[in-house]
Structure formats: C-alpha cells, structure tokens
C-alpha cells in the first residue's frame, strides 16, 4: 500500500486484528453468512455472529442472517444456494475447511456468481496437522475459477476485503480474499477503518441489481446446474473467458476508486524499492511487508533492490505483472509459501515464469533470471535476515535455481545461509516481549496496552501473541512494538528493549533474555523478598543479565494481586509496571488510560472487579523495585536440564531442543521423513505447573482408587505389589496393606507425580475418605508443591519402578480394579481438570496393549498428538496404543479402515496357521473368544508359543506368519472424537460405520460444544446454553445420538459420565469392547467451556445425572437377541431440579443475567425434556421384542 495525499479525511484509528478488519467489511456487505469454525478463521464468524446478535446491520440496514453449518462443506453449500437465490453471501474458512469448499467453489465460479470467501491462509495437514499459516490451502484453490486477492497486513485485510466485494459484483467472478493465518489474522495493528458511508460510496448498487436479476426465482424461472454432454460442456466452459479477461481491470478500477476515496493506493502488483533495482523479490502475503522494510534499509545502505508484492493472483494479469517488475531487474527470486512436492517449481514461480514468457521477458532472453525460493511453511519465521540472505544469494555469481530460506536443510541442501545478527528495526521503536501464563492475564493486558497506545495517542503499535502447544499451564509470549512510524514488521521481536517474565518458574525452563537487547530493561515477577531475588536466579540468567548489561526490576505481582482480591490475575499489576518502566507515555496519563481500559473491559463482569483492578494499578508502581546487580554472577545453581539424563536418545536429541524453544534451529535431518514419531515422550517433559499437589494419607485412605480414575493427567496413581518390592524405597515412601480379597497380602500405594500434576484438585474433591476427627482433611489433600517437589519426585520415580500388577489376578475389573492397571496415556497437554482425558486414560488401562485409536481432529487430537511431547505410551513389553489423526470429518471412516486392515491381516495369519501347521491342532488359537482380560492373555501366550514353533520351520510362509502373528491377538479399534465430529461434521461417516456390522468402538467425548476452537455450539449443545453462535442460548435440545444409534438394533450404545457412576463407565467401555459389532459410547465430558470450576467436575456430573439431563444407560443388542429388554437404565429417576444444575454453569447463568424470562422458559423446557426422555427410556427398558436374529454375535465373529 502506498499513501496518497489526495484525501483530506480526518484520520480515525482503531486497533484490531486482521480477522476483525476483514469481518467488519464482510458483515456490512452481506445478507447471508454461513459459517463453520476453523482455526484461525473462527473469529471472523464469531464476530459476525455477535454483531448480528446485537442487531448490527449491513450498509443496507438489514441484519445479516448468520447460520452455523455442520461443516465447511455445508457452509459452502449454503452460501452457494443463497447466492443462486439472489442474496449477497459470504463465509470464512481456512486449510481443510477450504478443501471441503472446493467442489462448491468450482460450481460458484462456473456459474459466474458474485461472492466473496475470506480465508486466513493456513497450512494443509500433510505429515502432520498445523494450525499455522502458509499458502498451501489457497494454492490448492487455484483451479476453482475463483479470483484470488491477497492481503498483506491488517489494513489491507480490510481494504482488499472491500475491493473483493466491489470487484466480484462488477466482474461476476467470485473472489477468494485471503491473508496469512495468525501473522495477519491475529496481529493487532493500527487500522484506519472504513465507515458505512465509505462503503455506500464505493459499492455500486447497479451491480447488486444485476445480481438480483440473475437470481433463481419462480417469478422468472431459469434452470442452472444442468448436466452437459461432450457436445456442449467444453464450449460452454470457454464461454466465461471474457469475464476472466475483464476481471483484473475491474479489480484495478476498484482499487483506484478506493484510493481516490481514502488515499490508500493498491495495485494488482505493487512494486516497492529502488527504481533501477538489479535484484527483486516477488512475494505474496504478510512477508511482503517485511520485504518492504528490509528493501528500504538495504537501499538506504546503497543497494539496488526491490520487492514486487502480488495482490491479484487470479486472474493473473501478465501485463500488469510485467509492468510492475522493473526492467532493470537481473536476478529475481519468486518466493512461495507453499510446497508442491514433485513439481518443477512451486506455483507462484510457475505463474511468474509463464507470465514473463507471455510478454516476451523470458529468462535467458530479454527477461531476468528467475529463482524459486520456499519460505515460511506453517508460520516459520521470515524476518529481515531472511530477506537479506535472499538478496545476497541473488548477488552471488550463481544463485541456486531453487532454494529454501529460514531452515537448515542438511539433507537436500536447498537452504541458503542466513545471518541472524542482521537487524533493521529503527532505534525510535520500543519493542517489548512478555512471558506469561495463559491464566495470568498477560495477553489480555498486552492487548489493552496496544489499544491504549494506538487509540489514544498518535503513535503506532503492533501486537502479536505466541501460545504454546499445551492447554494447561500454557506459556504465552507477547511481542509488542510501539513507534512513531507505521509498523510493518511481520515477524517476532528479536531484540527487545523491555522483557518481562510474569512467572518465576519460566526462569528455570527458558532463556528469557534471549530476545533482550543490550541494556534492555528486565522485569521479573518474583515471589520473594527483593534481597533474595538475585541469589535465586540460575547462573545462566545472571550471566546473561551481566553480559547484556540489563537493568533488573522486580515486583511481587502475585502477592499484590492476591492482596487486591484478584487471585492469579497479575495482568493489571504487570501492565502498570510496564508503563512505569518504559515511559512510552507520561506515567500519570498511562495510569488514567489503564484505568479507563479496565473500566471498559471489566464493566461487563461487574463493578467489583473494576474497583479491585484500580486498586492494583494504584499500588503497583510503589511495589516496583530496581535491583542493584553485582558485577559478577554469584549463583551456585545452573538451570536444570530440560529432560532427564535417563531419557532416550531421540528425546535428548530432538524433543529436548523442541522443549527448550530451539526447534527452529534443528536441521531437516533431525526429523522423521513421514511424520512418524516415537511415543511416550510426555513423561520426559516435567512442567511443574501446579502450585499445589495432592499428598496421600495412607491411614485415612479407603483404597477406592477414585482419585486415580478421575485424574485427567495420570498424575496420581495407585499400585499393588509384593511387599518385597519395597527394598530400596526412599525413606518417605508410603505404603500400606492392600485391603481386597483378590490381592490380599500385597502392598498398596497412592502416589502423585509432583512435576506432572496440574493442580486441578479433582482427586481431592472426589476423595470420599474424611478424617473422622477433622473432616476437613481427607485421605488426599492439596499442599504447596515447591517444598515437597524433590521428595515426591524421588518417591514417584521409585513408584514407577515397582512392578506392574499381574492383570489376570484382578478379580473384578471395575472402577477400583481398573486403576491398578498401568495407564498408557499420561501427562497430556489437556486443560487442568479436563473431563475427557479420564476416559482415554481408562481406555488405555483396559485395552492399551492391543488398542488402535483413530482420533478426530479436536481437543483430543491436540492434547493427544501435539508436539513437542505426546502422551500415549507403552507398557513394559513395549506395547501400547497406536494412535493417529486423519481429519476432522472422516474419523469414523479412518478408524473403520484400521479395523479392515487388522481383520485382513488376522485372516491372513489364520490362513497361514492353517496352511503351515495343519496337523497341530491350532483350533484354539484360531477360534479363541478373546472377550476379556484372561482370554486375551491366554491368546497372547498361544501366539508366543506359535512364534516359537515357527522358528523351526524353514518356509517363507513361516517368516510371513511370524511378522503378522500378533494380529491373532484381538485388536481393539476405537474411533475417538468430540461431539463436533460425532454430531456434526463426521456424522455421516459415523452413521455409516454404525450401519456396517464391523467390530469398531466409537467413543464420543461429548463436551456439548466445539471445545478446541473455543466453544461454538454443536448439535450436542443443550437447550438454553449460551455458546458461540448461540449467544442468546441454544434454541433446540441436543440431538439424541444414542437413540439414533439404537434404531439400528445391532449397535451397542451406552451413555456414561465418570463423575456420576465410575463403575458404570468401566462396565460400558468393557461391554462395548467385548461386543463383536459396532459400539457407540457417549461420554459426558466436563469442559472449561461450561463455565464453572472444574475441580467440582465429579460432583457436577452427579448433579447432572440426578437432574435427568444425562441419563446413564446401556443398550445391548445381545439382550435383544435373548428376547430381553435391550436397554438398561443405570440411573435413578430425576431427583434434582434441572434449574439447580443450570444455575451452576456460567453458560446458562449468562442467559439468566441477559434475560431472566428466557432463562425460565429454557428451564421449563429442559425440565420437560428430561422427563420425556426418562419416560421413553423407561419404556425401552421394559419392552420385550421377539429375538430378531437369534444367536447373532456380530459381523466378524
């Protein structure tokens, strides 16, 4: 963008992110908005929903109708219909979502229908999923016939959104308007907003009327969507050519009108740099901004370089491209933010090459030499050092024809070297980096600070926020810039003038001075007296502070926040200290603005929070102290190693570096080539995020094992073992006699994993064993972690070394018995108090050594498979769950594929057994029932014997059988996912898999909402709950998925809730697994999206079941076969009022506060629904039907 002085408009400014900038245009220029949540585009849909819910209108004074669909495919279908029927429609998406829209996009374009799709460009999952940004998704849409317009900044996300809407109406070519996921969609920067008047002036109503006239209507019927034959299709396809030919000019016209109106000028290709540049970079998206900044810097130093920013990628105007590219350019690097393996070059390069050919500027002839670089996949950093290295490469005698930048490729040696010391940020700019915890409010404070500066001063500001891959105890790093000039730096702060660390524990885990400039200010939130702070720093940090000559300030923000009644929310204190230290604003003015911002952001929560935060502001500055630093490092303590020395080689070599935040430095050769990683790595990541952990009192304990069952992180465990095993135990190790008939005489221990516990307190709340003399104390209770960390770590290590129990000796595999089994899912990154993970952990305890999990995308795939460390692990034999995630929408089919494969391999093994050993009576191994723990164990022994027997056979088939003999042990295939998958996007596949009679087990972790993307309603969301896209409470009750599955008659169905009945939970999972056909287990899962303290999750589930809103049941087709009622109700008739439950959850309370009458109506309807469902289930539990298929045992038995 360049700025023209034609405009005399007053400059209004607001601080928004790219999503809001684009959505604001889309909402005001649309009548129908069909949406589906996907990262990082979700906020656009959410904002539109909020605006429509608030009654905000488009520029024609109607409120856009926002509809959430069941998938992106559904959203695309809905907007396709809407625009065919004459409305102005839009939608938002990214990545896989865009892929699901492709079929409709071809149609929309083929039908020449005006439409804009706004996309936050995001990586398409290949060897791994990534939520981050690159152009692999939009590049996959090149063939659809959509025009493609790229925005490079927050301002452009607004302006070019408008240009897209203007141009689509005039050209009839539908537009895909995109900007980089996260880097632009989530960056907050200064925006000059476009008013409704601007939009009215720039949108030509004429074209809307033309669109209306083309609408499908019975008043002027036409037919569209015909099927055509070889005689017609080709010519008809070519008939649209003139529209594509006219499109670039129309886009340029729209850009020109925008420039005339606002002074902000854009072109189809914008060249920036030396007019006689010899080297030019061609690039698209946010990286272009970084290139512009770098080009200015290099040219100021006497170089002759430039950057050509591509805006209109489709239809590509070869003339405009050629005109924009200086004739002086000799070496041109075309940079692609995508990878097309096997292609001769990546797509943008091919476009540029073809374009230059077309205008007679082919390389080798009249044109420049072209080189193809790849950068920035999945938001890999691309900074001025990368840009400089590209120009340096172009200046070399023989630049590589194809290269990568930003990584070290030591395998195919494509990467070019980068000089990391190169830094161009102007001295006037203030750069700040903040390390915080998700829950301490750091990001929210920083967003506030940026808004304060950007909206209340004439300075410029930029904010970008980096989150880690865990949900519990997640670290956030905020990168803030402030300056007198516009900030176009689309990369992280590398050299900060101010660094704040809001959490003391980070000092031992990360080098928080890594991004500090020489002489920078370092602010630590220190929970210690000032005189102790220096001595408590690790040696490396002390040395770095001295080396970089940092000024060191401390504040005990935790204490101050506590004193002000703010709990762990340090934001206000730290924000005030930031303003006090940086002097970006006069302090008094800053305090005034901070207080104003507090009023604005907390007003909706209530006045008390405003008062308390104001107090914190007033007291913060006086608590801030500068430390006098000795002239040398004095610490005796080094930063502890990232992972234990006992960790395996891969963990030492790869995982540890990723954990240390050094993943960017790792070369290509360090990585698996196909996305396969070793399992069980979470155990090496000791995060120490709990302030308090549970400690066990063996004297009070009743040995119910409930603490272990409910623990979301497998961080409190129980074991029984022979007392002899206690030899060598640490002195403090606790042990007591086990009180149960089956394992009498053995010893028993409950042990916490002190460094893995998240401190959620679920175990303490669920513990039934109270001290009779002092009932406040239970058999486990929370104690501060730090003082007991070392001791408990030693005890836990010893505990892990104790032998695992002989599984066959556990007489009753109920809730208690199950917890004596080793969990093979541990220390995941799920939220503290997560309601889903106890089910998964239980699954691995029951069937872990023969378990395959197909996991739908969502929370469970993120905490289940998000690097750097993953929670699924192996037992002592090296067996454990095999886990994979395909997509969100296809998980049932994906899991079915697992079943088909293991069945196929089993059949092959069986055939080989029969062929190889015909005389040896292997009937047992072939016909083994394998329905429970002992029978599976027996089969394992038979397989071991079989393999032994095979060794003596000299036959190729013996070798084949050896390789697949393990498939004779029954594999347990589980299709796991959330309600978004099972009820919505994956429902078609799920239904189909249920309809087949294959032995698969489906576990729905039902949080009643899209949890991973931030709480959007699904068809599992209960009546009256506030959720995103249901701000005023969901109008309809949740779908009864269980009942739908029961209608097949051959599906085992159970509904469970661990907090309400643990034994029923265990029984249902075991029955589902044993059943030789499809099983569906719907598991109620508490979630942060419900809005209450999850430590009470157990009690809450009891109340839920007692209210009748979540009946526990098991529907067993085997019973049908026996002529018995198929349904067993596992809960008593409702005895708690629905209202009592609803009032416990913020998602319902919110409605009560907004509209008490509406809440009461919802409550009444929910109560009725609960009674009706109960009545129906009771009748089902009493029916008798003739056995339809006597003796049916499932399809593959």
């Amino acid at each position: 963008m360049s700025v023209e002085n034609a405009s005399t408009r007053p400059t209004l400014r607001s601080m928004v992110d790219g999503n809001e900038a684009a959505a604001s245009i889309a909402h005001r220029l649309s009548e129908v908005i069909a949406i589906y949540p996907i990262t990082p585009a979700s906020p656009m849909g959410e904002l539109c929903d909020v605006w429509s819910a608030e009654g905000r209108t488009n520029i024609w004074s109607t409120v856009p109708d926002v509809v959430e669909m069941q998938s992106e495919g559904g959203a695309a279908g809905a907007v396709h219909g809407a625009i065919q029927a004459g409305a102005l429609a839009t939608t938002f998406t990214a990545s896989q979502g865009l892929l699901l829209m492709l079929p409709n996009m071809y149609k929309i374009a083929g039908e020449l229908t005006p439409f804009v799709l706004h996309v936050t460009a995001r990586t398409i999952a290949t060897h791994a999923l990534s939520i981050f940004g690159d152009h692999s998704d939009v590049m996959a849409a090149r063939g659809t016939g959509f025009a493609m317009l790229a925005s490079a900044s927050v301002q452009e996300a607004q302006d070019l959104a408008l240009v897209s809407h203007m141009a689509t109406l005039e050209s009839r070519v539908p537009f895909l308007h995109f900007f980089d996921g996260f880097r632009t969609s989530h960056e907050i920067n200064v925006l000059e907003p476009l008013s409704n008047e601007d939009l009215l002036a720039l949108i030509d109503r004429r074209w809307i009327e033309h669109h209306r006239r083309r609408a499908l209507t019975p008043d002027r019927p036409q037919i569209r969507g015909t099927a055509q034959n070889p005689d017609t299709f080709f010519q008809a396809r070519e008939a649209s050519n003139p529209y594509y030919a006219a499109c670039p000019e129309i886009v340029q016209g729209a850009m020109d009108r925008l420039a005339a109106h606002t002074g902000r000028r854009y072109n189809l290709f914008d060249y920036h740099g030396h007019p006689e540049a010899d080297r030019v970079v061609v690039i698209m998206g946010s990286a272009g901004e970084t290139c512009c900044e770098t080009v200015d810097h290099l040219n100021a130093a006497g170089e002759r370089v430039g950057v050509l920013q591509v805006r209109l990628l489709r239809p590509l105007s070869t003339e405009a491209l050629s005109e924009a590219l200086p004739r002086s350019a000799r070496n041109v690097a075309v940079l692609d933010r995508t990878k097309e393996p096997g292609a001769p070059a990546d797509p943008l390069f091919q476009d540029v090459l073809t374009a230059l050919h077309a205008v007679g500027r082919a390389p080798g002839g009249a044109g420049p030499n072209l080189f193809n670089g790849r950068y920035g996949l999945a938001s890999k950093e691309f900074d001025p050092a990368c840009v400089k290295s590209i120009f340096d490469t172009l200046a070399s005698p023989s630049p590589p024809p194809r290269f990568t930048v930003g990584i070290v490729d030591d395998v195919t040696h494509l990467s070019i070297a980068v000089d990391d010391s190169f830094d161009i940020e102007p001295a006037e700019r203030v750069k700040a980096v903040f390390y915080g915890l998700g829950s301490d409010g750091t990001v929210s404070a920083n967003k506030n600070s940026i808004k304060i500066i950007g909206e209340h001063t004439d300075r410029y500001a930029q904010g970008y926020f980096v989150y880690d891959s865990k949900k519990a105890g997640a670290m956030t790093v905020s990168h803030l810039r402030f300056g007198d000039q516009p900030i176009r730096s689309a990369y992280l702060v590398r050299s900060a003038d101010f660094v704040a660390c809001h959490q003391w524990d980070f000092l031992d885990r990360f080098d928080i001075t890594e991004r500090a400039a020489q002489g920078a200010t370092l602010l630590l939130n220190a929970p210690f007296p000032n005189q102790e702070v220096w001595d408590r720093l690790p040696l490396e940090l002390q040395q770095s502070i001295l080396d970089k000559k940092l000024r060191l300030f401390t504040v005990d923000a935790g204490q101050l926040a506590q004193d002000c009644g703010l709990g762990g929310r340090l934001n206000t204190v730290m924000q005030t200290c930031f303003f006090a230290l940086t002097k970006i604003l006069p302090f008094e003015r800053a305090v005034e603005l901070v207080k104003g911002a507090i009023e604005k952001s907390y007003a909706r929560r209530g006045p008390e929070l405003v008062t308390r935060n104001h107090q914190a502001v007033d007291r913060a500055r006086d608590s801030l102290v500068e430390l006098q630093i000795p002239d040398r490092a004095t610490a005796h303590r080094r930063r502890p190693p990232i992972v234990s020395e006992a960790a395996p080689d891969f963990v030492q070599r790869v995982t540890a570096l990723l954990l240390a935040g050094k993943g960017d430095l790792m070369p290509v050769s360090a990585f698996p080539v196909d996305g396969s990683w070793p399992v069980g790595t979470a155990r090496w990541e000791k995060r120490n995020i709990a302030l308090e952990i549970p400690l066990w009192d063996e004297g009070l304990c009743v040995q119910c094992n409930q603490c272990a069952l409910v623990c979301p992180h497998a961080a409190i465990r129980t074991k029984v073992y022979d007392a002899d095993a206690l030899a060598g135990a640490p002195e403090s190790f606790q042990s007591t006699g086990y009180r149960a008939a089956d394992l009498r005489g053995m010893s028993y221990t409950v042990q916490v994993a002190p460094e893995d516990c998240t401190g959620c307190s679920l175990c303490v709340e669920i513990c039934p064993a109270k001290d009779r003399a002092n009932p406040r104390f239970k058999a486990i209770r929370m104690e501060p972690q730090a003082p007991v960390r070392e001791r408990e770590r030693g005890k836990y290590e010893f505990f892990l070394g104790l032998p695992e129990v002989d599984r066959s000796r556990i007489a009753r595999l109920d809730a208690k018995g199950s917890q004596l089994l080793q969990p093979l899912f541990e220390y995941s990154g799920a939220c503290a108090g997560c309601g889903e993970t106890p089910y998964l952990k239980l699954l691995t305890q029951l069937f872990g050594d023969r378990l395959l999990i197909a996991n739908a995308t969502g929370c469970s795939s993120i905490y289940g498979g998000n690097l750097p460390t993953t929670p699924y692990t192996v037992n002592g034999d090296g067996r454990g769950p095999a886990w994979s995630n395909s997509l969100f929408e296809d998980n049932a089919e994906f899991g079915l594929g697992f079943r088909l494969a293991v069945d196929s391999l089993r059949r092959e093994a069986e055939a080989l057994v029969t062929r190889l050993l015909p005389d040896q009576g292997h009937g047992e191994i072939l016909g083994a029932a394998q329905i429970d723990e002992p029978s599976v164990e027996a089969q394992r022994r038979r397989v071991v014997e079989l393999i032994g027997a095979l060794r003596d056979l000299d036959h190729p088939d013996a070798r084949r059988l050896e390789a697949i003999a393990d498939y004779l042990v029954r594999k347990s295939v589980w299709l796991v996912g959330g309600d978004g998958w099972a009820y919505d996007i994956g429902y078609g596949g799920l239904d189909h898999v249920l309809a087949l009679r294959r032995d698969v087990n489906i576990l729905v972790l039902d949080t009643q909402v899209y949890s991973n993307t931030g709480g959007q309603q699904s068809k599992a969301t209960p009546l009256g709950a506030a959720a995103k896209f249901a701000i005023h409470g969901k109008e309809t009750p949740q779908k009864d998925l269980g009942m739908e599955a029961m209608s097949y008659g051959h599906v085992y169905v159970a509904q469970i809730a661990w907090g309400a009945d643990m034994n029923q939970t265990v029984r249902a999972l075991r029955e589902a697994e044993a059943y030789r056909g499809p099983s569906l287990v719907i598991a109620y899962s508490t979630c942060v999206a419900h809005g209450y303290d999850l430590r009470f999750g157990g009690e809450h589930q009891k109340m839920l079941v007692d209210s009748g809103l979540w009946p526990l049941y098991r529907f067993d087709p085997e019973r049908l076969g026996r002529g018995e009622p198929p349904l067993t109700l596992d809960c008593k008739p409702p005895r708690t009022r629905v209202e009592t439950l609803l009032k416990q959850e913020a998602r319902f309370r919110m409605i009560e506060r907004l509209d008490p009458e509406r809440f009461r109506t919802f409550t009444r309807r929910s109560q009725q629904m609960a009674s009706r469902r109960r009545a129906i289930y009771e009748q089902l539990a009493g029916i008798s039907v003739p056995a339809t298929e006597p003796g049916h045992k499932g399809a593959d038995a």
């Binding site: 409010g441 989150y467 907390y602 939220c831 993307t1013 506030a1026 979630c1087 999206a1089 913020a1146």
Partner: protein
Amino acid sequence: MNLSCTYLGHTLPHPFIVGASPMVDDLAVVRRLEDSGAAAIVMRSLFEEQVLNDELASALAIDGPALSFAEAESYLPEPAVREADDYLQLLATVRDAVDVPLFGSLNGIHGGRWLKYAEQMVAAGANGIELNLYQLPTDSRQSGADIEEVQLEMVAELKRRIAKPVAVKLSPAYTALPHFARRLQESGADALVLFNRFYQADIDPEALDVVRRLELSDSSELLLRLRWLAVLSPQLQLPLAVTGGVHTPIDAVKSVMAGASAIQLVSTLLRHGPERIGRLRDELARWLTEHGYSSLQEMRGCMDLSRCPDPTAFERANYMELLRSWQ
C-alpha cells in the same frame, strides 16, 4: 372494617405485604399477588456476598481459560454489555407490572459502593428500601459494639443517599436490642422489620458434611417476634413490621396487638399460593368485627409492654413460670 395502616411512607389498605422472596421472579405470580390484594411487595433480597461471588466466579469462569491457546481466544460467548443489572431490570419490570408500593431489598454487610445499589433501586422505581442487616459474626476478636457502629453508619449513609424511606430488617441476636433499635431510629431508619430468618447449617453425620437448610416458617416462630414487638413498639416512634411466623388470621391479630404495623408474608404464600393474602385480609376483618373492634388501629399495641395486663410475662418471668408449670 378499616384495616388501614401506615408503613414506609404509604397508607396501606391493610397490613399484609409480601415479604422478600423469590416470588417476584415470576411476573405471573406477582400479578396474582396484586390481584389477591397484596398491600405492598418487597423485592427479593439482593445479597452483597452473592453478587460479589457471582461477579468474581463468572469472571473466573470466562476469563480464566481465555487467551491461553492459539485456537481459542475464549471459550464462552461475550454477551453484550449489560445496560442494567438483572436485579434492577427485574425491579423495573415488577414496577411496571403492578401498582402497589414496591420496596427494594438490600442484604449487605459493607457500606460504600454497595449502597449505590439502593440509589439505583430507587431510580428503577422502588418506593423504599428494606436494608437487611445480615451478619453472622464468627470472629472472636470482633465486638458487638464494632458491628453495631458499622451497621448504624450504613443506615445513616443510606439515608443520606436516598430520599425514599428505609426499613431495617434485623436479626434477634443483639445484646440490647431496644437500645440498638433506638439508635437505628436516631440514624434515620423509617421502620424496623422483625426478624430475619437465616439459613440453618445442619450436620450430615454420615457424610461428615454441613448441609444448609431453609425450611418454611410456622406459627411457632411468631412467639419470638411477639415478644420483641411488644417490647419495642411502645418505646419507638417508627412503625414495626413482623416477618416470620404469621400463617393464620390469629397470628396476624397477635402481631398487631403486640404492636406491628405491617405484616410480611412469605412461607404461607409459598405453601398456599398468592390468593392466601386476600383470605387472611378478609378473615382478619371478620375477626375484628366479631370482637367489636372498629378499626385495626384501635387494636394496635393493645398487648404491648406498656399496656398488657402483665408486662413481666414478656420479661424473664415468662421463662421462669414456664419452667415451673412444666415441673
């Protein structure tokens, strides 16, 4: 029969008013209460602790998990900024629905900002405020005098803030209730309401848990109120209301005889429905006629400490005598 009485600046046609209760949450019930003849309605109490708790708990629930994870900046929708508090909204709705006097009810333990609510209640249409001095001291270092000073200052501050009348609802647990009542009158209280009923903490001996209960009242609870009505009414100029234990016309008669101006009903309405209020009014009138009274006013206070035949019966002797007769 003239049943009229004066209470909180209003001449009421009869003494039966609806005490603070959740009945006001349902507009249909509110309308039935008015149709049945309720002389006035007290809103349910706005509890300082509950409001604070709700505010902090919902902030924790919404803000706690937010801005922690790249895929979800929040997990709950942000409702539009509330223009008004839900309580005030409810008060305004009830105000619009009925014509009888409507009193806001404030249940707090601290002064300051909290008392702003009273101003907002008045602005939303309340004809007066019932200030519920609800405090269960549990700290042995805190003296009765300290607590009383805080409470008196709250009343004084409230009077400074609003022009409408203020009734003070008390618990019976004061060392010298008559003295404190006098000081409340001096601080500007316009009426006293006797007495609060607290949630009672019960013990579940099996689960080793404390269980909170609030049972509906019955007539036996009236006796405590009768005594203090009889003791206070001759010594104070301000009107007294009774609450807790009036279930029958005879209960009402006794209350007025002991000096009550107004009678608050909750439990009996919850048990028998809003229409109960009209029946009590009619039966009280009948009783007065049958017993030769010409107006309710004539009967008021006839059995208070200054007029009853045996004042010692309301004093300690009452207790002694009971013991003796029991023997």
